[in-house]
């Protein structure tokens, strides 16, 4: 648009007023010239003016038009000047950065660490929290949580009926029941897959289309309808080679024939790890008012388009209240709430993720501080360069802009390298994320992440660049020029800025280290919890008997299994149970204590219940504290017995001796409950997690109470994993349709149960280590620079008799003083950091003195080392050389 002709110098920018004046002057010149010409040709001045004006035409219109055109020209000129300056500044910056490769490399490496960490964590946050679920109108897809007296979030079969008949704000409801499924195909080993039972409207609620075949339709729900199943794309590709002819084929699931009717797209599954969907068929005793106390189902619903979630929440709450009025005994204080499926999935990891994001932001701030310090040191060395440019006419604003261009370029390059760092870090770390953190392992660097990284890089450049840039031109021009190429003497101002930056850096590092220390200490506490069993040398695995096994068949299977496993070489002892500690399984029943006054159903005590074989306790290493263990003589025909744990005794028999007492357990629909005598007390185990207190639990003999879920625990002489293969083939020999699954040593289960905590603690420990390293480097840099600036002074001191000890004490003292101030400030910030992480802590207070003491010691030690290196150099100053050099 503008003139491509190169100007030798730039025209000053013009204001709109100046433009108007210029236009007027130009036109006046024209008229004056014309009038003069006409006058000299003989016209009277008046006639000449009239003629000239006439010849000119519409003067006002021309003035307006020209003014507008000139303002356009001016604006284009400013744009082009800006771009030219930027281009020029970038070229200049590039030359300057290349001329100082050590500085440039140090700055880029520091920034790449800081920005890379942010990119990595942000891409996880983006994937987990920001991206919507892959369903249309996913924000209206909700789970309904039922809580009673503060715990539980599960529904009963009748809740489905109540909601379907009463709710107006919903498109539909479906229950969901988790299940494991033994899948058998022709000519293949049985396989255990994760499945769910749902209502026929499940996929309609999700609003997705099948990849092949069809989803469930209304008729599939009917009692007596043929068994149909939908499989996931993953299962389809793995087991059926993505062959479309699988639609309509029959497979055996839990030893029953099922027809595969459809394939669900792999990236739009719900629940997100499920591979098999089946229809929930109701047992006759399930959809009746008597089942209102039986809570085990999840509930999915879709809120009508255009209806507020709050209104939907209000409605289910109202329905729940109405039902409580109708069945006050069972449903006392029961509450219902809707929560979006997204929140249901990621709600628990929002806070840890934000803490991680906070941690990497602190790392980035420390990186900024370090680079700012580097730039300040460089700014001192460049003072004469700046002075020369000022003398040649560059304004202070222009120089600041030049320096800011340099820092933003640095941070952009840092961000580019940081992206590579982030990719590498994500590759290393995300694979280690525990399976139960949804959407973490699949995080990747996408467009959003790139855009955010670019913005972060720009801000970073401004943050670390602005303080050094502002130092420009603060000093006397003549002094700077006279000092020549060696740079000027230290100015107190610049060194003050460096010190402030180091103090801030130490303070931020203290904050981050405290947060990391608290999480690590808490993790160590968690690991030191006695689980109540001996985890070493134990292998565990699970299997699920199909419904075709009745009571006798199950008992026979269990007996045969136990005998055969015991006979395997390397097996010291074996036990069976339906659920074992830390496997996530739970059975909870209400009970009444014989001899106690009857209570209302909603006030009945409840307990966890397990079914075990006689050798289970010994194999797990759970001590019998009183009475006896389950015995081989406890058979269907003998008295019904129970062993209870200590937590049970503490809660229900705090004063009396529990041995010989009887309780009636409400399992199996036996009228009045299944009455059993307590014969022994066993030690507590942490069934649900090391951080959870042991629940009251009763153990019944498997021989008296069979179960379709069987867990095998084996104590081995050698490494436990070695018996896995013989165990598998042993089970296959017993029933080839029974896949074993969840084959893990007990130690793996313990370790897996703290997977989240380990993941969080190790991530934040990495960030804290980076922060510590960066601030040590920062401190070293400032002290070392101060020493090099004071060489002359130190020389004088040595000449006047200061010993090298005294000199190094002085230098170290300065470093420690800066650190001490930083630590004190950081401790104040740590009060806040402690409160932020407190909800993630176990057994450690937010003001844990051990952690805080450790952090102070570590930082003081690092500071000591970082100052000792320059101090050693200072102590070796030769007074002659030092003073001559000035």
């Amino acid at each position: 648009m503008t003139s491509p002709r190169k100007k030798l110098f730039r025209l000053p920018w013009r204001t709109p007023r100046q433009i108007r004046d210029d236009v007027d002057e130009e036109l006046r010149f024209h008229l004056d010239m014309r009038i003069a010409a006409l006058t000299s040709a003989g016209l009277s001045p008046d006639a000449a003016r009239q003629r000239a004006t006439h010849e000119f035409g519409d003067l006002d219109d021309a003035r307006r038009y020209i003014g507008a055109v000139d303002r356009d020209i001016e604006a284009a000129q400013r744009r082009s000047d800006f771009m030219n300056d930027l281009w020029h500044d970038m070229g200049y910056a590039l030359r300057k950065l290349r001329a100082a490769p050590m500085f440039t490399l140090a700055a880029i490496a520091t920034l790449a660490l800081g920005i890379g960490a942010n990119t990595a964590i942000f891409s996880v946050v983006n994937n987990v929290l920001l991206k919507p679920l892959p369903f249309p109108h996913a924000d209206h897809l909700v789970r309904i949580r039922y809580t009673q007296q503060g715990h539980g979030d599960v529904a009963t079969p009748m809740d489905l009926i109540d909601n379907r008949t009463r709710a107006k704000n919903f498109d539909g409801f479906s229950i969901i029941e988790g299940t494991t499924a033994n899948l058998t195909r022709a000519n293949a080993d049985a396989e255990r897959v994760q499945g769910v039972r749902v209502n026929a409207n499940w996929f309609a609620l999700l609003r997705i289309a099948p990849l092949a075949g069809r989803f469930f339709t209304a008729g599939d729900d009917d009692a007596g309808a043929p068994n149909v199943a939908v499989i996931s794309e993953q299962l389809w590709r793995r087991d059926f080679s993505a062959d479309k002819s699988v639609i309509g084929k029959t497979v055996r699931i839990n030893s029953m024939p099922f027809t595969i009717v459809g394939v669900a797209p792999g990236d739009r599954r719900y629940p997100i790890t499920v591979e098999l969907w089946m229809i929930k068929h109701w047992a006759p005793n399930e959809l009746v008012d008597q089942s209102r106390g039986a809570r085990w189902l999840g509930m999915l619903a879709r809120v009508k388009d255009g209806v507020d979630i709050a209104a939907a929440d209000n409605e289910v709450e109202k329905i729940s209240e109405a039902m409580e009025k109708q069945f006050p005994e069972i449903l006392r204080e029961r509450r219902a709430h809707v929560v979006t499926v997204h929140e249901f999935l990621v709600g628990e990891i929002r806070k840890p993720l934000f803490i991680m994001l906070g941690a990497v932001t602190l790392v980035l701030l420390i990186a900024c501080a370090n680079v700012a310090n580097l730039m300040l040191v460089r700014a001192t060395a460049r003072e004469s360069e700046m002075a020369v440019r000022t003398a040649l006419g560059a304004g202070r604003g222009r120089l600041i802009r030049q320096l800011m261009t340099e820092s933003v370029m640095l941070s952009l390059v840092g961000a580019a390298v940081g992206l590579a760092v982030a990719r590498l870090a994500m590759h290393e770390m995300l694979g280690r994320a525990p399976q139960n953190l949804p959407f973490v392992a699949t995080a990747s660097i996408d467009g959003t992440t790139l855009a955010v990284t670019a913005i972060v890089a720009l801000f970073t450049g401004v943050i670390f660049g602005v303080l050094p840039a502002m130092q420009v031109g603060k000093h006397d021009l003549a002094t700077a020029l006279r000092a020549g190429s060696r740079g000027t003497r230290t100015r107190p101002g610049a060194n003050g800025a460096k010190r402030i930056i180091v103090v801030a850096e130490v303070a931020v590092a203290v904050t981050l280290l405290t947060g990391a220390g608290l999480l690590l200490h808490s993790f160590a506490k968690l690991l030191s919890v006695d689980p109540g069993f001996r985890a070493d040398g134990v292998l565990t695995m699970k299997l699920l008997l199909p419904q075709s096994y009745d009571s006798t068949a199950s008992q026979n299977f269990a007996r045969a299994l136990e005998q055969r496993v015991r006979a395997l070489p390397g097996v010291k002892s074996v036990g069976l149970a339906n659920f074992i500690p830390l496997d996530g399984g739970s059975e909870n029943y209400a009970f009444t204590i014989r001899g106690h006054a009857p209570v209302r159903p909603s006030e009945q005590p409840s307990t966890e219940a397990r079914k075990v074989t006689p050798d289970f306790f010994a194999t797990m290493g759970m001590p019998i504290l009183r009475g006896r263990a389950i015995s081989a003589t406890d058979q269907p025909g003998t008295p019904q017995v129970l062993v209870v744990n200590q937590a049970f005794v503490h809660q229900f028999f705090p004063t009396a001796d529990p041995i010989g007492k009887s309780i009636a357990l409400g399992w199996g629909g036996i009228p009045g409950g299944d009455e059993r005598e307590i014969v022994g007390v066993v030690g507590d185990v942490h069934s649900f997690g090391l951080e959870d207190a042991p629940e009251p639990t009763v153990y019944a003999p498997i021989a008296q109470r069979y179960d379709h879920t069987i867990s095998i625990v084996v104590r081995t002489a050698g490494p436990p994993a070695t018996v896995a293969t013989p165990l598998r083939s042993l089970v296959r020999d017993l029933d080839h349709e029974l896949p074993v699954y969840s084959v893990q040593t007990m130690e793996e289960r313990v370790s897996g149960s703290v997977g989240r905590q380990r993941f969080y603690a190790s991530l934040i420990a990495i960030f804290a280590a980076v922060a510590l390293l960066l601030s040590a480097v920062g401190l070293y840099g400032v002290i070392a620079y101060a020493v090099s600036q004071r060489t002359h002074e130190l020389g004088v001191r040595v000449a006047l008799g200061a010993t090298s000890d005294r000199i190094s004490r002085m230098v170290i003292g300065e470093g420690l003083l800066l650190t001490a101030v930083g630590i004190v400030l950081g401790l104040f910030a740590s009060l806040f950091a402690g409160r932020v992480v407190s909800s993630l802590l176990f057994g450690v207070g937010a003001l844990d003195p051990m952690t805080i003491g450790g952090v102070v010691l570590v930082l003081a030690g690092v500071a000591m080392f970082a100052s000792w290196l320059p101090a050693r150099r200072a102590a070796r100053v030769d007074p002659l050389i030092a003073m001559r050099g000035d």
Partner: protein, 110 residues
């Protein structure tokens, strides 16, 4: 042939201005005089559209302007062709010649 004022199209005026400046750097008044003399008053061009044209050409990058001193020592705005303006003039000139030839061919008695 009667000398009658003609309505000049914007584009036509632009070509004339470019042609004039092809002679060399001059201020607006000089451009105006030069065109008057060359056209022997056949084209009665007002000065207002002429100045509009000069600034329009400057915005288009065909002309650059600088303040300088006139022959009678006054501040005057001097215009000169830029390389882009020179190219533009060459293109427009040949287009004009073809156009004029075509018109005169039509008007020639056969």
């Amino acid at each position: 042939m009667a000398a009658s004022p003609m309505d000049l199209l914007q584009g036509t005026l632009d070509v004339l201005v470019l042609r004039t400046l092809a002679w060399g750097t001059m201020h607006g008044y000089a451009v105006s005089r030069w065109i008057h003399q060359r056209t022997d008053g056949v084209l009665e061009i007002e000065d207002a559209p002429l100045y509009k044209s000069l600034h329009r050409l400057e915005r288009a990058g065909y002309v650059s302007a600088e303040w300088g001193l006139s022959e009678n020592n006054r501040r005057a705005r001097y215009y000169s062709l830029t390389p882009a303006g020179r190219r533009q003039f060459a293109a427009e000139e040949s287009a004009w010649r073809r156009y004029a030839e075509a018109v005169s061919k039509v008007l020639e008695p056969t």
